[in-house]
């Protein structure tokens, strides 16, 4: 195990006020210094003990950040058979939209080769949203086109699935479309949308939870 790098100042500063032993000694400078150092070490030790987890409680593989922080919903066959999207909703209301693992695009030989955000009336990757109030964000319907995903043989339209303001698209996909093949559920997300609370409730009724989605896809 490596040593925790603790600076001398922090050790001394914190030991000065909690050090009743030194006050009692009221002794020579060297005595005081020794007591201070020991006190500093004690605090170090206390800190290290606090930081070390109980190994017995550590799971083999902990839940991922996405699993912990978002609730996963699915929109299977969105407007077209096989066009399965996911909607990860954060408690703060934001929705991350992307391709579910069962999307037809992944079945094509070679997987996804390109992503184009220039669809519909505008290039979605060119919008600059600014400020706390999210100025300039485009308001889209759930069936508005987000982007086109291309494989060697075909191209597929990805839609918003959620009515709301488009805050951000994952423009990294333009240069690295392979992110969709390796991690469509994380780094390969398509966009982040902010729906109004009322609009979310409406669309939530049409989406499937994780268990339902799994069951549906096992049958099909």
């Amino acid at each position: 195990m490596l040593q925790v790098p603790m600076t001398d100042e922090s050790a001394q500063a914190s030991s000065m006020c909690t050090d009743s032993a030194a006050a009692q000694n009221g002794g020579s400078p060297t005595e005081l210094k020794e007591v201070r150092e020991v006190s500093g070490e004690d605090e170090n030790k206390e800190l290290r003990e606090l930081l070390l987890p109980d190994v017995r409680n550590l799971p083999l593989a902990p839940p991922s950040a996405v699993e912990v922080n978002f609730v996963a919903y699915f929109a299977p066959d969105f407007m077209k058979p096989g066009h399965d999207h996911y909607v990860y909703r954060h408690p703060n209301g934001l929705c991350v939209v992307g391709l579910a693992p069962t999307h037809v695009a992944f079945r094509d030989e070679g997987g996804v080769t390109g992503v184009d955000f220039n669809v519909g009336k505008s290039d979605r990757s060119a919008i600059k949203v600014t400020g706390k109030r999210k100025k300039n964000a485009q308001h889209f319907e759930s069936n508005t086109m987000l982007c086109k995903v291309c494989t060697k043989s075909d191209s597929y339209v990805v839609r918003c699935c959620v009515k709301g303001s488009l805050l951000e698209v994952n423009e990294r996909l333009i240069k690295q479309p392979n992110l969709l093949n390796s991690s469509a559920d994380r780094e390969g997300y398509i966009a982040i949308i902010m729906p109004r609370p009322a609009d979310w409730l409406k669309v939530k009724a049409t989406l499937l939870g994780l268990e339902e989605y799994k069951r549906l896809k096992e049958q099909g």
Partner: protein
């Protein structure tokens, strides 16, 4: 203390260059008797006594409106104690407070006024004063400040009182635990809690602690050094052991600037419990520990994107060290020192690739953070 306005109007009938405003005239007359009555000296100090003289009269209001309607602008400046404060500008009358059946003239400065206007106004006041006015007083002391550092041992305690839809998040708040204890001992009216930065509810604050400031408004009792130590003891010996306080002491009003000075440049140290998707190897230890002042780019994390601007923030990771955990191959403790304002959780798991580089991208695998602790707030205050 009932006094007719009449005796004060003499000051208004003098020529303008010699005029002083009504408020100051009254003040100079009252000061000496008050000093004798209370056995104290008047001067600049933390204790303030406000004397309010008010005249109940609807007719003054009406005549004033009549006289000044065309020539002056009225402006509502606020609602104090249910009274509407209307400033009559350009009329030479500093401030007339009108409210439900009460008219209070709090200041009259007659400088730069047209002659005929002032005499008209004096006439108005001369007419009205037949009854004595009513009087009230209010005492107030300047706020006092306590500085110190706090530690937070619980992962269910927020820094400030956090409510969502009337429900409290977490079981307590650092702010309430510390401030309510101090407020009680000082017998003050209200407290305000300020800290140098903050941590999430599920993040512990350990090590040297985080500097904080508690402002107590209108304290009836200013504690001695011994009592301040008692307050610190009381907070630290509570049954819950959720929060601990260090170095608590009274500070002057400069405590605020002390804390805010260079807050953005300060460095913070953290310890994170990290899991990676493959076993940790020796080359990993080197690639992490060789980092020196690495620049990272963080997009506004999704978890705060709803209330913050979408921005790309450049942050610096000053250094990092991996501490292996015995009996595990994919878990370790990551010690790191970063620039103030860095989102540590997002630096570990990458926030869907929106923070780059991240621990995952540096090690070439998936990384998750299970726990985070702040181990040092490097500031030279308290």
């Amino acid at each position: 203390m009932n006094r007719k306005y009449g005796s004060q109007l003499f000051s208004q009938e003098r020529s303008f260059s010699e005029c002083i405003c009504l408020k100051n005239a009254l003040k100079s007359l009252i000061t000496a008797p008050l000093e004798m009555l209370l056995g104290v000296k008047y001067g600049q100090g933390p204790l303030h006594i406000r004397l309010t003289y008010s005249e109940s009269s609807k007719t003054i209001e009406k005549s004033v409106e009549r006289e000044f309607d065309s020539t002056s602008k009225r402006r509502k400046t606020g609602n104090e104690n249910g009274l509407e404060t209307v400033e009559l500008l350009n009329s030479g009358v500093g401030c007339i407070t009108t409210g439900v059946g009460r008219t209070v003239v709090t200041d009259t400065s007659l400088n730069g006024l047209q002659h005929h206007q002032s005499s008209d106004f004096s006439k108005l006041l001369l007419e009205k004063v037949r009854r004595p006015c009513s009087f009230s007083f209010h005492c107030n002391r300047d706020p006092i400040y306590f500085g110190g550092r706090y530690l937070k041992f619980s992962r269910n305690v927020s820094q400030t009182c956090w409510m969502i839809d009337e429900e409290r998040m977490g079981e307590a708040s650092v702010e309430e635990i510390i401030s309510s204890c101090i407020l009680l001992m000082c017998r003050g009216d209200k407290y305000k809690f300020h800290a140098a930065g903050r941590e999430d509810i599920d993040v512990r604050m350990l090590g040297s602690g985080r500097p904080f400031l508690v402002e107590i408004q209108n304290p009836r009792h200013i504690p001695s050094d011994v009592l301040v130590k008692d307050i610190e003891e009381k907070i630290n010996s509570s049954r819950d052991k959720l929060v601990r306080v260090k170095n608590l002491k009274l500070v002057g009003s400069q405590g605020w600037t002390l804390m805010r000075e260079g807050e953005a440049e300060k460095q913070k140290e953290y310890a994170a419990l990290v899991w990676i998707s493959r076993p940790l190897e020796d080359p990993d230890m080197l690639s992490i520990s060789s980092v020196r002042d690495m620049c990272i780019l963080q997009r506004t994390p999704i978890r705060v994107l709803h209330r913050r601007s979408p921005l790309d923030r450049e942050k610096i990771i000053h250094w990092m060290k991996i501490e292996r955990i015995a009996d595990t191959s994919q878990y370790f403790i990551l010690h790191l020192c970063t620039q103030a304002g860095t989102y540590i959780k997002e630096f570990v798991h990458g926030d869907l690739g929106r923070t780059h580089p991240s621990i995952g991208s540096i090690l070439g695998c998936r990384a998750e953070i299970l726990q985070l602790d702040v181990t040092d707030v490097k500031m030279d205050v308290f």
